[in-house]
């Protein structure tokens, strides 16, 4: 526990003084470490601490959020009063009914995650050796490698959450992530490729990983791009590879299913519950309960257990991604999806580990079905406007498909489309599901979120290459 629950009860009382019907305190003590290796030598070592709290009040559908760095009883009560008093201003039309506070009762749970040693207890030398080995492996695979930028990022977060309904939880979360970007140059032409691995857990897991395989993939991709021509422009069938290929679902649909957009009517998926939004082959899941999963949580940042949520079942929209305020506004049940980057942000409905479930098709058959199209093997970042459903994402490594066979590599392709429209064009889903790690940025900050899918065939997408 970061703060004595008896103190938190006083803070909740102070925050309810002007008629809020719900109060919550989120407390955080986070240690983070960032080590990077560049120019064949250790480049950067930053460690630090985030320490603060956020008080959130609901007055009906109105939300007030105030943060503080002062976790003393006086500091927390001051923040609580500031939040409560924001409501007293004449500009506000008081409508909340004050509810009595319930006594705090610790909700105990068994962690679904297994952590090794804590981040700061493994020596920096050992971690730099790991990064150095990535540099050496990359350079050993090709003399055209000119630079390697490798990084190890770790976070150990202690959270304590209490609310006026009597809910009290304490949890510890460890995250670690390894990045490696390889730069190659040949005849004045430069390219790069990057890869990453991450999980909820501590960094010693990377000692056991297949470092050679991890780095070699990137080197080979960068070398292929050096010689690849630009992708053509125009609409065509696209086969998207598994793992990080799942970013298409994350962007095209996932964000539009968050109640942050749905409750405002600012999503193309509004009022579509129970309706067909995709073909039978598409089942999509947002799962916060995968042990040691990158986007998993024991409890979300509102203090409630993470769940496994079926979003789309055989093409029918089954659920949105719902946080506490989203539940109030829409009437749907919360799905344990309230998340935030840190105490500096009020929570919002966010994705966890989001993926298209395994289907019945075979990858080989998807390729065979395409006369002229694109195989997007490695995806880059993506973004979406949930209001219009317009999304775009970059293809890091792509190949033309000609006459049912994977042909030459192409670079510079991006894929664009509209959410529901693109979802309806997924016509085949393979059996080979894989997940990958990403960082997702939205209203409540940057959070770890996994994406995933088996290989899929989209019958038509606009490929933005060179005309």
């Amino acid at each position: 526990m970061l703060v004595n629950p008896a103190v938190l009860e006083k803070v909740i009382d102070a925050s309810l003084a002007t008629g809020a019907d719900f109060a919550e305190i989120f407390l955080e003590d986070t240690y983070s470490s960032s080590l990077t290796f560049l120019n064949r030598k250790p480049e950067q070592a930053i460690v630090g601490n985030l320490y603060g709290a956020g008080v959130r009040l609901f007055f009906g559908h109105e939300v007030i959020y105030v943060t503080t760095n002062d976790l003393s009883e006086e500091g927390l009560i001051k923040a609580a009063r500031q939040a409560a008093n924001a409501k007293q201003d004449k500009a506000l039309d008081a409508q909340g009914q004050q509810s009595p506070r319930q006594s705090l009762k610790l909700a105990a749970f068994d962690s679904i995650h297994r952590f090794g040693s804590r981040a700061w207890e493994t020596g920096k030398d050992q971690k730099f050796s790991l990064l150095q080995s990535l540099d050496q492996i990359a350079r050993s695979h090709s003399s055209l490698v000119t630079q390697v930028d490798a990084g190890l990022f770790e976070k150990f977060q202690k959270v304590q959450i209490a609310n006026s309904l009597g809910r009290l939880v304490y949890d510890e979360r460890a995250y670690s992530r390894l990045n490696c970007e390889v730069f190659v140059e040949d005849g004045g032409i430069r390219e790069s490729a990057s890869d990453r691995e991450g999980h909820m857990g501590t960094a010693e897991i990377f000692e056991a990983m297949d470092k050679d395989g991890f780095v070699k993939t990137g080197v080979q991709r960068a070398l292929k791009l050096l010689r690849a021509p630009f992708a053509p422009a125009g609409e065509m069938p696209v086969v998207i590879d598994n793992a990080f290929g799942g970013v298409i679902f994350h962007e095209a649909c996932g964000h539009g299913l968050e109640t942050t957009s749905v409750a405002k009517g600012a999503s193309v998926f509004c009022d579509k519950l129970g309706e067909r939004v995709a073909n039978d082959c598409v089942t999509a899941i947002d799962d916060g309960t995968i042990p040691n999963g990158w986007g998993s949580l024991n409890v979300d940042d509102e203090g409630y257990p993470a769940q496994k949520t079926v979003l789309i079942e055989k093409g029918i929209l089954k659920s949105y991604i719902v946080d506490q305020m989203g539940a109030r506004k829409t009437g749907y049940k919360p799905t344990g999806s309230g998340r935030r980057q840190s105490y500096k942000f009020a929570p919002a409905s966010r994705m966890r580990n989001t993926y298209i479930a395994a289907g019945n098709d075979r990858f080989e058959d998807m390729i065979k079905d395409v006369d002229y199209g694109l195989f997007a093997k490695s995806m880059g970042g993506g973004s979406v406007n949930p209001g219009t459903g317009d999304f775009n994402f970059a293809v890091q490594e792509g190949y033309m498909i000609r006459n049912g066979q994977v042909a030459k590599a192409v670079k510079g392709a991006s894929l664009i489309g509209r959410g529901i429209d693109a979802l309806g064009k997924i016509v085949k889903v393979s059996q080979d599901l894989k997940l990958a790690t990403g960082m997702c940025g939205s209203v409540s900050g940057l959070i770890p979120a996994a994406v995933g899918q088996p290989q899929i065939l989209v019958s038509k997408l606009l490929v933005g290459g060179r005309a």
Binding site: E43, Y51, K124, S192, V268, N392, I416
Partner: protein, 452 residues
């Protein structure tokens, strides 16, 4: 004496004993965000933050740490962690040249920007009413405005202070107000988005109606958009989309990226890298800009820096260490936050204006695409290593100076360095204040478009 100065002096003695040099960067701020949804308060977020970040130099190794606890003990602990990181890095350095510690800034006088830290008294009621109007007036513009999913007001007070063991102790504070209205307009089955923002250092001068009118007009004018046929077109890059394109250059202008073999502009100083009509200046004192600063993150006094003059690259942006390594002047562009490592960043980048009006530019060729909107982030369509971009965009198609209507569902592709060479004409009106990249409209001879 203030408690931070007091703590830092103790740390200075420790550093001397350790044979180290130390720098402490403190960012302190308050932010208030208010937004309404359906005329009900959707969000009232008040955050206060204070972070201190140490950079410690020890025999060529640089280590960092940060903390939100400013007790004397916590600051000493943070100093020691940074020192331990510096030692860990030093252990990994084999190169004798690297064994010299990069220098710290010496104390100097700065051009004052004290007037930016306004003390104007604004009531909470006034701020809330303004936030409410950002939604209400957007709906009032046109009945086709069906949603205002994002409309909000923000007030920021930010203070930056830097102390180092050479005696630097400099402070800079500012306060500003900003806000936006973002609407969805619907006609038949098509939904189009449009947004507009404002930025002001003076609350009394904020006008809401023009912001809402512009947001609604942008969305409404995009209704009825048709797909653009694939091909190569002459393009007018609207002043509002230029920041997205110029920001692609930022990494390449950094002397650090030049040293790290990541910049496409390596070995290009003194060479023509853009059309001869292009002049790009870094101006930390241009008050229209959102990135004013009297000193950089090392404490070096800021100055105006011509970067591209008549198409020729004059300098990279440097800090103390990189200027020394490359034998260039220090341009005062060290940049970091308390939680990040020292890097390099521009202040306000300003493209010098030309003489053409937007209408002149739109009529300058038989067929042009007026590119008004980039959809989606650069992370999803720009590759820094090569300078290649491929981004979904929206705009209007013009023939003989006449607008044929809005176009969408296309991707514009090219390479940022090639684009600089293709600038044929520069407009005379600037984008709205508050951006840290200030530019007029630009006519680009040709870019590739993937559409229908």
């Amino acid at each position: 004496m203030d408690s931070i100065k007091d703590s830092f002096q103790k740390i200075q003695s420790l550093a001397t004993a350790d044979g180290a040099q130390a720098e402490l960067l403190i960012h302190e701020g308050e932010s208030l965000e208010i937004s309404y949804q359906g005329q009900k308060l959707e969000k009232y977020e008040s955050t206060t933050s204070r972070q201190g970040g140490f950079r410690v130099l020890w025999r060529g190794g640089q280590g960092y740490s940060f903390t939100e606890d400013f007790s004397a003990e916590a600051l000493v602990r943070a100093y020691r962690e940074a020192l331990s990181n510096a030692k860990a890095l030093r252990a990994g350095l084999k190169d004798a040249l690297d064994a010299d510690s990069p220098p710290l800034a010496e104390p100097v006088d700065f051009q004052g920007l004290d007037h930016l830290d306004s003390t104007e008294d604004v009531s909470l009621t006034a701020k809330m009413e303004l936030a409410l109007e950002l939604e209400r007036q957007a709906f009032a513009q046109d009945k086709r405005v069906v949603q205002v999913p994002y409309a909000g007001f923000q007030e920021i007070r930010a203070q930056s202070r830097i102390l180092n063991t050479k005696g630097v102790d400099a402070q800079f504070g500012q306060r500003y107000f900003s806000g936006y209205s973002y609407v969805l307009a619907r006609q038949e089955a098509q939904t189009k988005a449009g947004g507009e923002g404002f930025f002001s250092r003076d609350f009394a001068k904020i006008q809401i109606e023009p912001v809402c009118r512009s947001a609604a007009q942008k969305a409404l004018s995009r209704l009825g958009a048709k797909p653009l046929p694939t091909g190569r077109y002459t393009v007018i890059l609207d002043k509002e989309v230029i920041p997205a394109f110029i920001s692609m250059l930022l990494g390449h202008l950094s002397a650090q990226h030049v040293l790290d073999e990541k910049s496409l502009l390596k070995d290009k100083t003194g060479q023509t890298i853009a059309a001869s009509i292009l002049n790009l200046i870094d101006d930390p004192f241009d008050e229209r800009g959102g990135s004013l600063r009297p000193f950089d993150s090392e404490g070096t006094a800021s100055q105006r820096t011509p970067i591209i003059q008549d198409g020729v690259l004059k300098t990279y942006l440097t800090n103390l260490e990189t200027s020394q390594k490359l034998g260039l002047d220090n341009t005062g562009h060290a940049h970091r936050s308390p939680t990040s490592q020292l890097g390099i960043a521009p202040s306000n980048l300003v493209i010098q204006s030309g003489s053409s009006s937007l209408n002149d530019l739109l009529g300058a060729r038989d067929k042009v695409v007026h590119l008004t909107n980039i959809n989606g982030g650069l992370h999803a369509g720009y590759k820094q290593t090569t300078g290649d971009f491929s981004l979904p965009a929206e705009g209007f198609l013009y023939k003989g100076g006449q607008c044929l209507g809005p176009v969408d569902q296309f991707v514009v592709s090219g390479n940022i360095l090639e684009l600089l060479m293709k600038i044929e004409s520069i407009g005379r009106e600037y984008n709205r204040p508050g951006h840290s990249i200030l530019s007029p409209d630009l006519l680009i001879s040709e870019l590739s478009f993937a559409g229908a």
